[in-house]
Symmetry: C2
Subunit: 297 residues, 2 copies
């Protein structure tokens, strides 16, 4: 084990402590930040995630407005609730937990959220503003990756950042962010994916390697340049009879081999994961501040 | 000269001929496509460009609604005109020629255009939908690049596309398009720019090299992999005493040396340029078709 561990939990804790002061200040001024959370159905992973978000809100003093809807909720009903949250002045951020059941179009629901409350950063207006380098809500997981780099003292400028995976929630927005002309960007960026013929050709060039492919062991130690910074966004279940649940969680990077080659690496769990929720809270606080500012004008 | 010339003019002509039929059909059905064109001031390059657009509209039977405004037009007046064009049912596309004078915010004007008439594809909603891989208006110059590749029989899938330049109108949207999971995408994409320490490290790996940096001789023959496809988006003036005007136009790629190494190359002028206007016309026709469809429903 040569690599330094980039522990998301501690980084997230630092950010949350700084948020606490802003939340107290806002609440004193009469604008307690509020997050509307909508969960449709009872998918265990989604429930766990939504519970963690609500617990985090409570700990920091963010008001959480909770909607738990049955699996067979019609799209019209969900859109009605989104509209209600859009109009609710005490709600500054809206989170509709994905995935949604088949009868509901995730695209239509995402489009229905007021872009000024889109703290997930998935609305096209936000993604378009992100691409243009304008003020917007940064999507939470890519934002978390940038926070981990910052905490590790890794400046992307002039580095070669190689991203494995091109999802709408991680790969594509993160690529956009890392290539921007600003201090968290300025990296040369390569995006690889399932149609990349020989992944290792690119991963071996990475000063910063970000794996967000959704598949265990997509990147192994021999695919890294010595001294690379390895950020693992993946969360995958692999069978493990020694565990009570029968499985354990691993990332997209083979930790054992990669940690011998990289200079820094994130663990899974406990790496990027804790940052994602934290950046959602950060966006909610930012939204409440903007809301207050707009009302003040 | 080893490289095959990818002549944009001929490719554009083909596309325009196919548009002509759709325009005739739409006009027969009572929906002649209409393009609103706004030019503020008298910048010679902008005037030339706007004139060329209007001539192209006329040739194909697209109605062109022309607004030529003085240099000192206030932003409020321009926004009023944009609003008028937004409401005009005979206008399916709106083009506000950039750059705009200092007293006008290009961002605010872009945001004011109805995304359903944003045939330039610069509105954040369009760029966000582009990033998400959803239906939208493709920005004209990147779209032109894809059309040139298609006409040359170059399939991006599995290739390494290296883009030099990260502008909002070419580099960033083109990167987004080439990495999408679809038949015009599926390339491994690298974006380089002014903060890339050694550009040739990346350009030498390119199966498809796209130069959109805005600087002459950014890419020379020795920076290309033999057999690469070289697409030149740049248009730069260089002094030339042998020309009547005292200058000539060159791209970002040094044509003389690059054409000895590449397998295909676009000339400047006559490469990507003619496609840009053509794709604007194509978006206007598409918009008229969508408009008709929405009214039919």
């Amino acid at each position: 084990m040569a690599a330094k561990l980039l522990e998301g939990k501690a980084i997230a804790q630092d950010i949350r402590e700084r948020l606490r002061g802003r939340i107290e200040e806002l609440t004193r001024q009469g604008t307690q930040p509020g997050l509307g959370v909508v969960l449709v159905g009872s998918d265990p992973a989604s429930s766990t995630y939504v519970n963690a978000k609500e617990r985090a809100c409570e700990e920091l003093g963010i008001k959480s407005v909770d909607h738990r809807l049955p699996e067979d909720t019609p799209e019209t009903e969900l859109l009605r609730i989104v509209d209600e949250l859009n109009r609710d002045d005490t709600v500054h951020g809206i989170l509709v937990q994905l995935p949604l059941p088949d009868q509901i179009s995730a695209d239509r629901v995402t489009m229905a959220i007021d872009p000024d409350k889109d703290v997930d950063g998935f609305h096209p207006v936000n993604l378009g503003r992100l691409l243009r380098g304008q003020e917007c809500f940064w999507p939470c997981t890519p934002h978390g990756v940038l926070e981990i780099l910052r905490a590790g003292g890794v400046k992307p400028e002039g580095k070669h950042a190689v991203i494995v995976g091109r999802s709408n929630i991680v790969g594509k927005p993160l690529a956009t962010m890392l290539m921007q002309k600003n201090e968290t960007g300025n990296a040369t960026v390569t995006v690889c994916h399932t149609r990349t013929p020989d992944l290792s050709v690119y991963t071996r060039q990475a000063d910063i390697l970000i794996a967000a492919a959704g598949k265990a062991a997509t990147v192994t130690g021999d695919m890294l340049k010595p001294g690379a910074v390895a950020i693992d966004v993946g969360v995958n279940r692999v069978d493990d009879a020694t565990k009570k649940k029968g499985y354990r969680l691993v990332g997209d990077i083979d930790f054992a081999s990669a940690s011998e080659v990289a200079s820094m690496i994130t663990p899974v769990p406990g790496g990027v994961g804790p940052l994602t929720i934290t950046m959602l809270l950060a966006n909610t606080v930012l939204s409440a501040e903007r809301h207050r500012e707009r009302r003040g004008r």
